[in-house]
């Protein structure tokens, strides 16, 4: 299994296509950071305008933590496409290239083959998120500095103290890795039904868009299925930034307002991953390789 995984990772990171995602994330983040560096003060003033009438806001509000939060909100919607580019190509790409039949004539069990491929797609996903974290968090901290983090909610502002933020980002990125692994598992599952990559990539994105629409529409019929859709839970990384308050309305350092929501979302995403990978294994073990 270890040898297979090494081989799969070697193939992924030798392909030029792999680096499209890294380049896309780098350029998107660089553009947003540049924009915020040049005109960020005006942007922050505009966003905080309503609250400035009620509160006096001092210090560096446009700091690296805040910029990272903006970047995550912008990017985590688009990262699934970059994940699908690789995950949905894992089997269909081999079928299309004709290498699938060559690989499966080797003394490698289909179970190990599928697991190694899925693990490689997961490692790629995690690598992409680590890269996102380095650029969005650490580079932003370097460019914009650090400070307390102000987050705007619908009718209130959350203030997180500087020394109470980093662990929340660790949790948020960890959660995002799980959410993106779910996308990878979906792409991987769809990958075995086609002999070219385009179909599974488009199908993966279509499923995500369709489920996201269902997740966001408040229609009673959809409300029944919403709690079970993985897209509903993919945004739960934001829960790490909701802090509990005590009876005096003072924030409790190191707390999360609804930790049970995170646990529930983690469980539902994990179940989806298991279902997608389990179904992939079941189908692929019986599949006739005709490519």
């Amino acid at each position: 299994m270890w040898t297979l995984l090494q081989i799969e990772l070697y193939k992924i990171f030798r392909r030029p296509r792999t680096y499209i995602a890294f380049a896309a994330i780098t350029s998107l983040i660089a553009i947003v950071q540049l924009g915020l560096k040049v005109d960020g003060k005006e942007y922050a003033d505009f966003v905080m305008a309503d609250f400035k009438n009620s509160f006096s806001i001092d210090g560096n509000t446009l700091n690296g933590y805040f910029v990272c939060y903006i970047l995550l909100q912008l990017l985590l919607v688009h990262v699934p496409l970059l994940i699908a580019l690789i995950a949905a190509d894992m089997i269909s790409g081999e079928a299309n290239g004709g290498t699938l039949r060559f690989l499966l004539t080797k003394p490698v069990s289909r179970f190990n083959f599928i697991m190694a491929k899925f693990l490689a797609a997961t490692i790629y996903t995690i690598a992409l998120l680590i890269w996102l974290a380095i650029l969005a968090l650490f580079v932003s901290m370097f460019i914009f500095g650090t400070g307390d983090m102000l987050l705007l909610k619908n009718s209130y502002v959350v203030q997180l103290q500087q020394d109470d933020i980093f662990w929340r980002y660790s949790g948020a990125f960890g959660f995002a890795a799980l959410a993106m692994t779910t996308v990878a598992a979906l792409g991987f599952f769809l990958s075995q039904f086609a002999e070219n990559s385009i179909g599974p990539i488009v199908a993966t994105m279509s499923v995500i868009i369709f489920f996201t629409i269902l997740s966001t529409m408040s229609i009673p019929l959809f409300n029944l299925v919403k709690p079970y859709l993985f897209t509903t839970h993919m945004v739960s990384w934001k829960e790490f930034f909701d802090i509990r308050v005590d009876e005096n309305n003072a924030t409790i350092k190191g707390s999360i307002e609804h930790p049970e929501r995170i646990v529930r979302s983690v469980a539902i995403l994990a179940v989806h991953i298991l279902l997608f990978v389990g179904a992939s294994l079941f189908i692929f073990k019986k599949k006739d390789v005709l490519s």
């Binding site: 040898t3 297979l4 090494q6 081989i7 070697y10 193939k11 030798r14 392909r15 030029p16 290239g97 004709g98 290498t99 039949r101 060559f102 690989l103 499966l104 004539t105 080797k106 003394p107 490698v108 069990s109 019986k286 006739d288 390789v289 005709l290």
Partner: protein, 311 residues
């Protein structure tokens, strides 16, 4: 161990279409076994079943004395194969591809050995070139190098000369002969070209529409003194019964629809005719085919396709 492959009553259906129909054959150690049939006859499907790429609908496959179904990995460790086009990773070099597939075969192989393998197939000087720049012939040779890299006892080659120029075809033919004669490999090779198989095979199986037409040693099949005889009769069941109890039993090849096919010494056609009459077999016709090629063309193609096979 004398038998490397033993296939019994193998069938494969895709929905209503029967690609392979009750096929049985045996490949002995050291054979260059030619698998002959027109495109779509079921050669690739059979080879894919031997390599576990396709699951049989019915039948048994034994390789190296072990049932394939329960001993897949152990068996495939001793097999090298190229099925249809030898597609490899175009963004990697020939050397990198070879190393990758060697690892997959479960062996550790030195740089020197990999280079030697590329030398065998004439690619040593292109070892570090990306495969995307290779010609079809070079890809074919790289495919064979990959099939051979773990030193397998059995080599399965599906139409290895497809798309090659005459020089490429000759190179592959010489390589197969070298592997058989000098390295003692057992080789199962398919083709739709009789002339190709004729030059390399020690044993030949002809299939059509997934069914076995004839299986014999190449020496016997390509012997100009021998001929294929088709007997058409009103009652082929009775005729078959009579023939199998007579001196013609060993000449019997197959029985399809109203026809019985025998392979006999050309000189004995009149003796056969006399015996058929003596056995009260009601003949419609007794038709000798001039050559194996004639027979092959007759059973596998319509006359409109004849020229495709004569090369």
């Amino acid at each position: 161990m004398s038998d490397i492959i033993k296939v019994r009553n193998l069938s494969k259906k895709f929905n209503q279409f029967t690609a392979v129909n009750d096929l049985s054959f045996t490949v002995a150690n050291g054979d260059v076994y030619g698998f002959l049939g027109q495109n779509g006859a079921g050669k690739s499907t059979t080879m894919r079943m031997l390599l576990t790429l396709i699951q049989p609908t019915e039948g048994n496959i034994e390789m190296f004395g072990l049932p394939l179904h329960n001993n897949r990995n152990e068996i495939l460790r001793q097999v090298g194969a190229v099925i249809e086009k030898p597609d490899v990773y175009k963004y990697l070099s020939a050397y990198e591809n070879l190393k990758l597939f060697a690892k997959l075969s479960g062996i550790k192989i030195s740089h020197q050995k990999l280079q030697q393998q590329l030398e065998v197939v004439g690619l040593a000087d292109r070892a570090n070139d990306k495969v995307k720049n290779f010609s079809q012939g070079m890809k074919q040779r790289l495919g064979i190098a990959i099939a051979l890299v773990h030193n397998p006892a059995l080599i399965v080659l599906d139409e290895p000369t497809n798309g090659l120029d005459p020089q490429g075809i000759a190179d592959i033919r010489n390589l197969i002969l070298h592997l058989s004669n000098n390295e003692g490999k057992t080789i199962l090779v398919s083709s739709h070209l009789l002339s190709e198989i004729e030059q390399i095979a020690t044993k030949v199986l002809i299939i059509d529409k997934g069914k076995k037409i004839i299986e014999d040693s190449a020496q016997s099949l390509f012997d100009p003194a021998q001929t294929i005889v088709e007997i058409t009769t009103f009652d082929d069941v009775f005729a078959r019964q009579q023939l199998l109890q007579s001196q013609w039993e060993s000449a019997f090849q197959e029985n399809r629809q109203n026809q019985i096919v025998l392979k006999i010494d050309r000189q004995k056609i009149s003796v056969l005719h006399r015996d058929l009459v003596a056995m009260n077999i009601q003949l419609i016709s007794l038709q000798p085919r001039h050559s194996l090629e004639d027979y092959f063309l007759q059973v596998t193609t319509g006359s409109q396709n004849v020229h495709q096979y004569i090369q």
